[in-house]
Structure formats: structure tokens, C-alpha cells
């Protein structure tokens, strides 16, 4: 793959420490989203041509991406542009606050951009309309082809300013793209921006691939491939396209994930009908066996501090979730509810574990505290599993499969997201059927 050079120079236009009056509480389901006006960014008339970009439309397009991002959170209600009362360039200098308040907006985003000497300069301001004050102002310089990312970064900055939480818009999702009939699926690794744009395929579909996961810097992916009909965990460098088998195991390795420092891969290795959990250090190649039990131990996930590992095991008879120290000691079962529990994934904030639960033929995505208490089921469906966290620990992405008819007709696999509040369930836009999503960390951190 072509190496993507990306540089963003970011600086504060002004630093404003005024305490905001508007604030969005994201700890509960928000039934009263904040009305926000996102003015099209003003395009400077001195802008020059750049490749095939329609520079004149960029200001409107960036504002549309910001609006879509905001709408997807369920926390904001972007207002219709027809009602806007001021020209973008004038509003950006200083909005007539009372006019914007008339259309019931509580916050306003304004900005302008200039394409010159092969560079895109963007600045934006966030205004608190109630307090009649500027809340944030930032400027960026980057290559013009990065304009979508600029829109995502602006969205993140505004989200951060209004919620007090890190954003998650300048992120990607890696997943398995699916096509073909249910009993002859063709599966490829695919990567896309969080909003569904810029889909790229990383494998050709010649062999079955499953369960891709990013490393902490989002440059590497670990996944399961049936290359040469030998199911093994692989490591893929997204930029160079180089891939290699992880370790030299004499049987199937699967369910890989990176350690939080990115130095190790944790996975299951199946031997003589028994699956246990192993780690391999990517630098020293040292392999460590973490569990040693005659049951199926799989779906391991490190805590963000690297001290603990959550996994599922059927050592009690059916799949349940366990937590142990990262050396394999002190194994404790944490799920005792009715049903089967699997795919534990530790929240990036460290406070929760997301999981899949199966009970009476229904599949649930839920969250619980790391000791197993406080279980909350967020969504029920015919089939859904494999949650993955947004980098700020507020949203889960997972996949669903529909019930198929007698010939497999009506089958589909799709990606969905839901807030950990249980609100704001959404289907993600993908070019093909999709499964096994994994959310990256923030790209511009």
C-alpha cells in the first residue's frame, strides 16, 4: 500500500478559558440533543486549484461531515442550513448571537479555508450562543486531500469541548467484508473511516480471513487467515502490506489481540482438541503459555494497564467470562448470570467489560463492571456478537447476522453501533456485508 503522508499542524487561534454555559452530559441517554448550527466553511477567494478537488465546495462538504458526525452521536441536533441567518465569512468573524438564538441554536460552528501552494489551511470557531462567547478556535494546515480528516478532527475538538470527553471521529474501523451465498462466503479484510468513507480492501478474498484487530498505533493488524488451509494468526503492516505468521505453532492459532503496549499478541492455540491462551512477544519472539486447562479458553482481552486478562472458558461446563492476572495466576470467574457469556472486551477506560450473552436463543451485547457486577444488556437480537470499543469508551461497534431461509436466502451480516447508555443504536454504512469490526484509536493523537 502507498504510504500515506499525513501532517497536520494545529495551533490555537486564541485560548479561551471561559467556563462554558452549554455542556452535554453523555453519561445518560440524551433525549434532548443540543441544537447546533454548523455553518458552511467560507472558502477564501484567493484559493487555488488542487488536483481534482472541487475547492469551491470544500467548505460545504466539511460542514456536512461535521453535521453527520454530530448527528450520529445522538447528543447533538444539527439544524437545517436553510434557516441560517448569516453569511459564513461574516458569522466567522463575529456572529450576531441574537439572530442565531432565534432559530433555537445553542452552539454555532463557523470556519474558513484557503487552498494555496498545495496546502489546505482551515480554521474554525465554536461559539456559545447563549453566553455570546467564543468557546474554542483552532487552525490546521495539511495537504488538501486530507480534507475529510480535517472535518473529523474539527468534530473531535468540538465534541471534546462540549462533552468533556475525548472524541472518536478521526478513527477507522477494520472489519471483514463478506459477499456470496451463505455457505460459500468470500471474506476480505477491509478498512474504512468511522463514517463509512474511504473503504479499502487489504486482502483479495482467496482465503478465509477472520477477526482483525488494530495495534495501539493503528499501523498493524492481527487477524486469523486460512492461508494454505492452515488457520493461523497473522500480523499485517497496513502501510507496506507485509504479512507474517505469528509464532511457529503446530496447530490452529486464533482469537488474536494486541497487548495495550502493542508489544505482544495474545491468542488461543488449539492442540489435541484443547484451546489455551498464549502470548508472543513480537520483538523477542518469546512465547508464553498463560492458561493450562482442559477446557476451551479463548477470546482473551487485556485490561488497558496490561495487568489483567479477561477471557471466556467453558471450564464450568458452558462458556463464562473469567479474569486473571496477565501471568495467568489468580483466575476468577466473573459471570454467574443465566446464559452463556463470551467475547469479553475491556473498555479503554478500564472500568467496564463488554460481552456477548446468549440466553434462550437470543443474543445480547452488554457491559458489566470488571468484577462482573452491574450487568447491563444494551441490545437483543437473533444473532449479534463481538463488541469493540470506541477509543473514548462510550460506544460499542459489533456485528449482526439475520435469520436465513431454507436455502440461506435473507441472510445478511452488518455492522452496528450502540452507546453504552443503551441508546442510539445505529447501522453502520458499509459497501458490502460486514462482520468482526474493530475500532482504531484516535489517529491524530
Amino acid at each position: 500500500m502507498k504510504k500515506v503522508l499525513f501532517l497536520i499542524i494545529l495551533y490555537f487561534l486564541s485560548f479561551n478559558s471561559v467556563n462554558a454555559l452549554i455542556e452535554v452530559d453523555i453519561t445518560r441517554g440524551n433525549l434532548d440533543p443540543l441544537p447546533i448550527a454548523v455553518s458552511p466553511l467560507h472558502v477564501d477567494v484567493k484559493s487555488e486549484k488542487y488536483d481534482n478537488l472541487k475547492v469551491k465546495d470544500l467548505g460545504a462538504k466539511i460542514s456536512e461531515i461535521i453535521e453527520k458526525n454530530f448527528k450520529s452521536t445522538g447528543l447533538f441536533n444539527p439544524l437545517k442550513k436553510e434557516a441560517f441567518v448569516q453569511k459564513p465569512d461574516i458569522a466567522h468573524l463575529k456572529p450576531r448571537f441574537e439572530d442565531w438564538r432565534l432559530i433555537k441554536a445553542q452552539a454555532l460552528v463557523t470556519g474558513k479555508l484557503l487552498v494555496k501552494d498545495g496546502k489546505l489551511k482551515v480554521e474554525f470557531r465554536l461559539w456559545d450562543l447563549t453566553a455570546a462567547k467564543e468557546m474554542t478556535a483552532l487552525a490546521f494546515t495539511t495537504t488538501p486531500s486530507n480534507w475529510r480528516r480535517v472535518a473529523h478532527i474539527i468534530s473531535d475538538k468540538i465534541y471534546e469541548r462540549l462533552t468533556g470527553e475525548e472524541g472518536y471521529f478521526d478513527t477507522r474501523i477494520i472489519y471483514v467484508s463478506e459477499s456470496g451465498p451463505k455457505n460459500q462466503r468470500i471474506k476480505k479484510l477491509a478498512i474504512m473511516d468511522q463514517d463509512g468513507a474511504n473503504t479499502k480492501y487489504l486482502t483479495l478474498g482467496n482465503e478465509l480471513v477472520l477477526t482483525p484487530r488494530f495495534n495501539p498505533t493503528n499501523q498493524m493488524v492481527t487477524y486469523l487467515s486460512y492461508f494454505r488451509n492452515m488457520p493461523r494468526v497473522y500480523l499485517l503492516d497496513i502501510e507496506t502490506g507485509m504479512q507474517e505468521v505469528v509464532g511457529n505453532f503446530p496447530g490452529m492459532t486464533f482469537a488474536p489481540r494486541f497487548s495495550p503496549d502493542g508489544k505482544k499478541i495474545i491468542m488461543s492455540f488449539a492442540e489435541d482438541g484443547n484451546s489455551d491462551i498464549y502470548t508472543m512477544d513480537l520483538e523477542t519472539r518469546v512465547v508464553e503459555r498463560i492458561t493450562n486447562h482442559s477446557s476451551i479458553d479463548t477470546s482473551p482481552s487485556f485490561s488497558p494497564d496490561g495487568k489483567y486478562i479477561a477471557f471466556n472458558s467453558d471450564r464450568s461446563g458452558l462458556q463464562q467470562i473469567y479474569v486473571m492476572r496477565s501471568d495467568g495466576s489468580d483466575v476468577k470467574r466473573i459471570t454467574f448470570g443465566k446464559g452463556i457469556y463470551g467475547t469479553p472486551v475491556w473498555s479503554p477506560r478500564g472500568d467496564l467489560i463488554a460481552f456477548t450473552k446468549v440466553r434462550k436463543g437470543k443474543f445480547y451485547i452488554g457491559v458489566m463492571r470488571v468484577d462482573g457486577s452491574g450487568e447491563r444488556l444494551l441490545t437483543e437480537n437473533f444473532y449479534q456478537e463481538a463488541p469493540s470499543w470506541s477509543p473514548n469508551g462510550r460506544v460499542l461497534v459489533f456485528y449482526r447476522e439475520t435469520k436465513a431461509g431454507s436455502k440461506g436466502e435473507g441472510f445478511s451480516a452488518t455492522l452496528w453501533s450502540i452507546d453504552i447508555t443503551g441508546y442510539n443504536e445505529r447501522k453502520l454504512r458499509t459497501k458490502t456485508d460486514a462482520s468482526d469490526p474493530s475500532w482504531s484509536s484516535l489517529l491524530s493523537k
Binding site: 451465498p181 477477526t211 490452529m252 486464533f254 488461543s268 476451551i296 452463556i340 437473533f382 431454507s406
Partner: protein, 158 residues
């Protein structure tokens, strides 16, 4: 090691038999015994009278009486065809998480392999692979399809 494994398997077989006899009151409906498929609809044959596959109960990898009879036929066939090697493919239905199903398929393939070994087939002639829920033989979402998909299939490789 091999002896040890063999002994373990014999125990497993005895144990399984006990469990199964305890469950023999499970209801039989059509091609299902409990939720284990007993029909022939999806079955292929390694040779005349030698079925290629055995079926499992939900989340289980223990061999039923019928499965053991099938595997004994496979063992007899393999004893007669000494140069033949096989791969046993382990599969799961679609009603479990993907990663657990991969492990479960592997356990099912090995249950069949171990049984063949107790009937004198060298482990060197048998490789195993798990496909989890990835390769359903019946794409429907019904209890019958799921029972047909919970299987291990013995495939000739040469």
C-alpha cells in the same frame, strides 16, 4: 504419550457411554435424537457403507453411539486402505460466538480423530482442521440445519 492419550480416550469413551445411557430417554423427533442429527440427507460416503461424518449435540464434542459406530466403520476402512490419509474437519452451528466455535470445531475434529486412533489408526494419518461456523453444509437458520452443521467430516487427502 500415545499410550497415555489412548488410555485417556478409552476413559472418555466409557464416560461418554455412561452419559449417553443416562440421556437415552431424550425424545426422538424425525431426524433428531435430542438435538443430534441422525438422518442421512447431508451424508457422503468414503466407500460403500462408510459414512464420512458424525454429528454432535449443541456445544458438545462427545460422540454418540451412532457416531461411534460410524467411526468404527471409518477405522475399518482406513485399516484396509493403509496408504490413505485423511483430514477431519470440525464444524459448529451458527448459534455461538465465532471464536468459541473455532475451538469447538477443533475439539469435535479431535474427538473423532482420537476415536479412530483407539481403533488402531495412526495419528500420523489423520490431520484435523476446524472451520468453526464458517462452512455450514445447510445454510438455513433452523434447528434441523444447525444439527446438520454440528459435525466432523472425514475427508480423503490422497
Amino acid at each position: 504419550m500415545t499410550l497415555n492419550t489412548n488410555l485417556k480416550n478409552i476413559f472418555l469413551v466409557v464416560f461418554t457411554t455412561l452419559i449417553l445411557s443416562a440421556c437415552s430417554t431424550a425424545k426422538k423427533t424425525g431426524d433428531l435424537d435430542g438435538d443430534v442429527y441422525t438422518g442421512k440427507e447431508t451424508v457422503k460416503y468414503l466407500a460403500s457403507g462408510v459414512p464420512d461424518r458424525v454429528f454432535f449435540a449443541t456445544n458438545k464434542s462427545s460422540l454418540t453411539t451412532a457416531s461411534r459406530a460410524t467411526l468404527r466403520k471409518q477405522a475399518k476402512f482406513l485399516r484396509k486402505n493403509k496408504k490413505l490419509n485423511v483430514t477431519i474437519e470440525g464444524h459448529a452451528d451458527e448459534r455461538g460466538t465465532r471464536e468459541y466455535n473455532l475451538a469447538l470445531g477443533e475439539r469435535r475434529a479431535n474427538a473423532a480423530k482420537d476415536y479412530l486412533m483407539t481403533y488402531g489408526i495412526s495419528g500420523k494419518r489423520i490431520s484435523t482442521i476446524s472451520y468453526g461456523k464458517e462452512k455450514p453444509v445447510n445454510p438455513a437458520s433452523s434447528p434441523l440445519a444447525w444439527s446438520q452443521n454440528r459435525r466432523s467430516v472425514t475427508v480423503k487427502v490422497n
